[in-house]
């Protein structure tokens, strides 16, 4: 059978491509790039929230936040494992990240300045991630789709926790309320930018749609996110910091001000407030852990050697 035709049939029938199947090199490369970027985002994304674990204002919140950041490490590991089914190793991918040759989500290049950011990251950033990721649960590549199903369940749990943090703050003391609104003001537009450049400028989208890696355009997802947030903001009693926000009866959707895509491009290219800090933090952990990993490898080798000898002698 012609593998190209078989691949096309599987895609057309909305079935899954599996690691054993033939696939076009560009499909493989696109998936590796996307899954790796997604995995890197989980790992780098631990930092902005990790920044508040030691200062969480109640023991319950401390436990929830620590568990959340731990989940993100777990997501990173699933995703690296999914990428490995495409014939690339986690170590290679991590090296590409550390060398600055693969990206992670730009949102994590903004600083977490207050505790309210733990709420807003859950509500807006995880919220945007979910809107992006739910369609990926139907992605044409099986291992990625299955990883996303598992991740999306935990993400919506995280999103509810973030929403609850913000809700508590918005209904707390005046200082807490102000902290919550300030945080939403800082994160709103960067969250909108998480969906990527507008469709008119989006480079990879058409091919990804055809391959059923991607199911909706950037602008479609962004609109869905805005429509979802407006009602939630009302319940929170917080203001979306967009004077242009208005219901459009004709479109059956909210009109809104677009994020500053020039800023997005600058941040992607390395000029966000925390790009250097995030990368240096990751590099330092990697560098300072090198002797530990070397010791674990040396120990494992010694044990293996000892086992072999034992087998030979018995």
């Amino acid at each position: 059978a012609d593998p190209t035709a078989y691949f096309a049939e599987v895609i057309a029938a909305d079935q899954k491509v599996e690691p054993r199947d033939w696939m076009p090199e560009a499909y493989r490369a696109t998936l590796i790039r996307q899954i790796a970027q997604h995995a890197h985002s989980e790992i780098i994304g631990m930092q902005p929230e990790g920044n508040w674990i030691t200062r969480a204002p109640s023991l319950k919140r401390k436990a929830i936040l620590l568990a959340k950041v731990q989940d993100e490490a777990g997501h990173g590991l699933y995703l690296y494992a999914a990428a490995e089914t495409l014939g690339v190793s986690r170590d290679e991918l991590v090296d590409l990240l550390l060398a600055g040759r693969q990206k992670y989500s730009s949102i994590f290049n903004y600083p977490t300045l207050t505790w309210a950011d733990m709420g807003t990251i859950g509500w807006l950033v995880d919220g945007a991630a979910i809107v992006n990721q739910v369609p990926l649960c139907r992605c044409s590549y099986g291992p990625y789709a299955r990883a996303m199903i598992r991740i999306c369940k935990e993400e919506s749990f995280h999103q509810r926790q973030g929403y609850e943090i913000l809700h508590t703050l918005a209904h707390g003391t005046p200082a807490q309320r102000e902290m919550a609104q300030d945080s939403v003001n800082r994160w709103w537009y960067p969250s909108l930018a998480m969906f990527g450049p507008p469709d008119t400028d989006s480079t990879h989208s058409a091919q990804s749609m055809a391959w059923k890696i991607k199911r909706f355009s950037n602008d479609e997802l962004r609109q869905r996110f805005v429509d979802m947030c407006v009602g939630q903001a009302e319940v929170l009693g917080l203001t979306v910091p967009d004077p242009g926000l208005a219901w459009n009866d004709e479109r059956g959707a909210y009109d809104f001000t677009q994020p500053d895509y020039a800023e997005l491009m600058r941040v992607i290219k390395g000029a966000g407030p925390c790009n250097r800090q995030r990368m240096e933090h990751r590099r330092r952990a990697h560098r300072e852990g090198a002797w530990v990993r070397a010791a674990a490898a040396a120990y494992a080798a010694k044990k293996e050697q000892a086992n072999k000898k034992e087998k030979v002698s018995t």
Partner: protein, 241 residues
């Protein structure tokens, strides 16, 4: 002689301060799996701390809940052993601290699980299983590092040398408490000496036996740890989170 309140608080503060130090590792572990493992152990310690603090508040009967006790005492009121407040140092130092803490907490929680106090027994029964995992994890790393490379052996031995003096405080006799710490020493010594021997490490000789944590006389490190732990809670008196 510690009051029941002080006794429970001592165990609670051990767990709370250990959780805080372990949480400092988050995003800084030597490999991703270890980030997850250290967070897990921190979560266990934090969970035990919350149960114990809540119970301490009940024993005291002055209406203090877990957060009042965690966030609104200063270091002179904390009752944790000095071992847990020492800075993390490198990964070897953290593993030495964890090994000694777990090798103390396993027999402690086991004894607590069989003690007459129903609440403490329930907490002990839950926590001892978690501590057994902590002990396994720390033992594995101490063996790997002790019997790994020359550098890891050197670092692991230095860590054991540095932390060992702080273990004596854990076993200060007090027969009036539900579990006399002195009775836990045999178990601790047998477990720890086994692990260190397998790890090709030696127990240092020292006559220095720093203590004071159970009386609220700490190292200079604790007040910095508490400043960070408490900063936000204290900045908003009376707020809910």
């Amino acid at each position: 002689v510690a009051s029941r309140f002080d006794f429970v608080l001592g165990l609670a503060d051990d767990a709370l301060v250990a959780a805080q130090r372990l949480a400092e590792w988050c995003t800084r572990g030597p490999e991703m799996e270890e980030d997850i493992a250290l967070a897990n152990i921190a979560l266990d310690q934090l969970g035990a701390a919350r149960l114990l603090l809540t119970h301490a508040g009940e024993v005291e009967g002055a209406g203090r809940d877990e957060d009042a006790l965690a966030y609104l005492r200063d270091d002179r009121e904390f009752r944790n052993c000095l071992l847990v407040e020492l800075p993390n140092g490198d990964f070897a130092l953290t593993m030495a601290k964890l090994l000694f803490l777990a090798a103390y907490q396993v027999p402690l929680y086991t004894a607590l699980a069989g003690c007459g106090d129903e609440r403490l027994a329930a907490i002990g029964a839950k926590a001892r299983k978690e501590s057994a995992y902590h002990l396994d994890h720390a033992s594995l790393w101490v063996r790997r590092l002790g019997d790994g490379t020359d550098e890891s052996h050197r670092r692991m031995q230095a860590a054991v040398d540095e932390v060992w003096p702080y273990t004596y405080e854990l076993f200060t006799p007090d027969p009036t408490t539900p579990v006399d710490p002195a009775t836990l020493r045999v178990d601790f010594d047998s477990v720890v000496s086994g692990v260190l021997a397998e790890a090709t490490l030696t127990v240092p000789e020292t006559s220095w036996r720093p203590a004071g944590g159970r009386d609220g006389v700490h190292t200079e490190h604790l007040s910095y740890l508490l400043a960070e732990l408490q900063v936000l809670h204290r900045a908003h008196p009376g707020a809910s989170w």
